[in-house]
Amino acid sequence: MKCEEAGELIFEADLEELGMGGDSPLTGHLRECGECRQAAEVILGTESAFAAAFDSLAPGRSFEESVVTAISAVPGSSRRRLRALPVLLPLAAAAALFLLIFPLWNREVGVVRDPFVPALLAEAPALRTPSERSAMILDSGDPDYQIIWLF
């Protein structure tokens, strides 16, 4: 191979080939020709220096802090959820207590006066439940139909 031909290949060759890895016609020529080998070494050295210069780059010092702040503001962030926990806990406890007491009270009375019950039915309760059962009247959205749930 002539140096001119090698020159054509050197300008497009993979780095491994320039480093005389493998067994291609170009690597064969580089092993024999000192000047072409020197050209390949200059290219390898320069590109390797470029890579090293880039490898040492990092974002600015305040980057991590900015990211933490920005992430905290993302909806659904666990940090955000944790901040809301002191407010939500008493509300959740109150809701749980209500759900616990409501069926007991309901069983005693036997008839449901539920916020879902239409006003007319609530004013004149006429539903008797079988013993040991409670009932809930649910609004279906259609005035002609009401849902009675025995439980």
Partner: protein, 193 residues
């Protein structure tokens, strides 16, 4: 790719997951910045792109597919963010400072070899040389020759086919190496340049 972190396992639900984020994205901060710098060629813009990329990755971590590479997923986000922030890439390229190329070339010529250059000089040279490449050429060259990705992996990250990636790579190498050889005329002559 050099120092390729583990392939990720998607354990995420439907919302941001700090633990998964720390595992998958945090190790990539530096690399995201580097990608952003290659895309924008401006350290301040690269900072902004990196921050926005990290935030988007946090928001959408649950969408990451477990069979994919974290690097590919993050690279695509970085690219989208950079394109949105920088507007028209061609317009951006036109803003490149021609004097930077001359100054950088001067540095390389003065020293006679890259070994005597300091870090900042080297970066100026890289940026100046990169200014002569198209966006695709610059990205493929950086991913393959400077970061050590396989061309097929670079193609996947850039969402182009492997043959196209190789074409961009060869053109980029020709331009960069021609520039390097201009500062070693005795060797360039041997190679018939």
């Amino acid at each position: 790719m050099r120092d390729e972190p583990e392939r990720a396992v998607d354990e995420g639900g439907g919302s941001p997951d700090p633990a998964l984020f720390d595992k998958l994205v945090r190790p990539f901060y530096q690399r995201i910045y580097r990608w952003a710098l290659v895309m924008t060629r401006d350290p301040d813009d690269a900072d902004d792109v990196t921050q926005e990329t990290v935030i988007r990755a946090y928001r959408h971590i649950a969408t990451f597919r477990k069979e994919g590479r974290v690097s590919t997923w993050l690279y695509r986000i970085t690219r989208n963010v950079a394109m949105e922030m920088m507007g028209n890439p061609r317009k951006q390229r036109e803003r490149s400072d021609e004097r930077a190329i001359e100054n950088a070339a001067g540095s390389l010529r003065t020293d006679g070899s890259e070994g005597g250059l300091d870090h900042q000089q080297l970066l100026r040279i890289v940026h100046a040389f990169f200014g002569e490449l198209s966006d695709r050429q610059r990205e493929v060259f950086d991913l393959v020759d400077l970061q050590g990705c396989e061309p097929i992996e670079a193609a996947e990250m850039l969402e182009i086919d492997a043959a196209t990636a190789r074409t961009h790579l060869f053109r980029a190498r020709r331009l960069i190496r021609k520039r390097i050889m201009e500062h070693h005329p005795e060797l360039a002559e041997v190679l018939g340049r």
